[in-house]
Symmetry: C2
Subunit: 210 residues, 2 copies
Amino acid sequence: MRLVLASASPARLAILRGAGVEPLVEVSDVDEDALVAELGEDATPEDTVGALALAKARTVAARVAEAVPDGVVVGADSMLWLDGELVGKPAGVDAARGRWDQMAGRAADLFTGHALVQLTGGAVGREVTGHARTAVAFSEPTTAELEAYLASGEPLAVAGAFTLDGRGGWFVEGIEGDPSNVVGLSLPLLRRLLAEIGVGVDALWGAPTP
Amino acid sequence: MRLVLASASPARLAILRGAGVEPLVEVSDVDEDALVAELGEDATPEDTVGALALAKARTVAARVAEAVPDGVVVGADSMLWLDGELVGKPAGVDAARGRWDQMAGRAADLFTGHALVQLTGGAVGREVTGHARTAVAFSEPTTAELEAYLASGEPLAVAGAFTLDGRGGWFVEGIEGDPSNVVGLSLPLLRRLLAEIGVGVDALWGAPTP
């Protein structure tokens, strides 16, 4: 049973590797902005991340179905829900600084949509989808800390301008929910979705580590 | 400002590295069982992990003070509070299986004690201590999943017989609190303790990543 990760995110790959799974990585070329525009302004956060995750998984599934006859494609999309607005990656250093001025000392919700597309006998099979929400409480970095964090470049590459698994971890007081969801791929949700298509986590691990 | 990690835990080292800090690692030789026995049965979870963390940091501080004239030694100790009992690493596969039979589908609290000992001008300086508590809700692994997890060896090496940052992450539904605390070193708590001795996180990072 081969897992195919339809994402370019190094953090999602690291989660899977840390959890004992080496996926094939195949990045989708979904036009995210066009899809979000198509959904319209009334789309909920759950709708938006779910539609993006499914589009990514479908695109990659169609592409790899012949090469991976027995597998599961995983698509995911994360956004931060902050003050009634769904925010993705910041546009630059100034945008990231503005985001932190807004977030510091407060809480926001990280939504990740997940979609599995099964590959069976070289064909695209069942689809299952879900989403998870984790509340994140931010600390208040000092000016020197925030400037050093921005200078590291790390917050510029990620939804919500923070990382839980990197330098940003210093500035997250706590969360309510699943931490892997904040990093971009919820392991317990992925496990439940896999169970829906009859796959246990043990099937992804292969032979035990000696 | 050099950070010295008084712990053999690869998970604690990985947290610091992921958060942009490369510590010097110097493992203490504290007799943990003797110290716990000395504290007596009335010791709270906070007392126990706090005393162990401080003992580790003090031992290492005395040893490295000359070699690291300007630094901070960090000691930490983690335990799981489960059904009114403080549990550390399981004694073997059977103990880990029994622990999971007890934990599955339920919640427990992960306590980590933290102690900083400052090194100034080659001498041991101020001490600051704290502790953090994170609630962890466990899933119910299938028999096949649990046996594969036990066979991986991972749960045998860690307090509470689970990992949040490894294969065990599949079986943690969610947490309330700081995730790095569950892994063994709370970054936001460490940041607050460092602030007490006048050190910002930016001082640990050095030059920005290009």
